[in-house]
Subunit: 162 residues, 2 copies
């Protein structure tokens, strides 16, 4: 697997991943019926977007991440990042590779830390991965995510110093 910069030529392969993830409504608080244009605005515009590519099996895109400052101006020394992996590619370390890449890039870019604003507390595979890579839970907003199956569950704010 190789992680490289997103280019607009990748959008036709990234959009189905974004669409699949937001339609499931179980990991992101995002409108599930975004048009491709709205999804591009959400995932690419103003973001540093990368893709994870299968370099052994034909070059398919397995996952994607985007990064940006969590806040502008006097908050811009803390990075934010989000990750999506194609359902067909889950369980193979793609997410972990993307998180490690994002951390390396944020360190190289001089960020002081990385913050996640809304990690669904019942998404234990993500929470455990982030904790294993050094993030800690700053706090949990109770019931802030209306999970389609589990109902209202908490959203963790997670942080790692870089």
């Amino acid at each position: 697997m190789q992680i490289r910069e997103f280019t607009d030529a990748d959008w036709d392969a990234v959009w189905p991943i974004v669409q699949e993830v937001i339609k499931a409504e179980d990991t992101y608080a995002v409108e599930p019926d975004l048009t491709p244009e709205q999804a591009y605005e959400f995932w690419v515009a103003g973001q540093h977007t990368v893709v994870a590519v299968d370099d052994t099996g034909g070059g398919g895109i397995l996952g994607t991440a985007h990064m940006s400052p969590v806040r502008p101006a006097r908050g811009s020394h803390v990075a934010n990042a989000s990750f999506m992996v194609s359902s067909a590619a889950r369980g193979k370390g793609v997410g972990e590779a993307l998180v490690r890449y994002a951390l390396d890039r944020a360190r190289a870019d001089g960020y002081a830390g990385m913050q996640f604003n809304a990690v669904i507390e019942t998404n234990t595979s993500a929470v455990k991965l982030y904790e294993r890579l050094g993030f800690r839970i700053i706090g949990t907003v109770p019931g802030a995510f209306d999970h389609p199956v589990q109902g209202r569950v908490g959203l963790h704010i997670m942080y790692i110093e870089l």
Copy 2:
């Protein structure tokens, strides 16, 4: 003091308040040199914006608040709100009146809670006001705000159930 809905005719009086607050760079992580159009986009567009009006002294605008869901879709049952008070009107309860108004409106609109994403930990008058009105600190992101005088200080996430 009366709190009422913002109309576009108020912008000429609200913009100097927004400009003063963001230029100070000590309470908001926002670009300090926004144009009026960018400031309108930040403070009014897509927001429920209100103004606090001096109904004893000529109708001047003392402060302003805006409210919106903190997240879309499955996060939209939690409200977010922000407040600004003209420096000339501080210490007179304008901020408290705006927060109480926002809480009442959020309750009336059926929100389950209100979340503040970034309360500067050294802004003790705001923190104490919010705590007095029932908010609690969910957690603090260390050093996430580069205060112009105090250097890097934490940002509280604060929450109240409604």
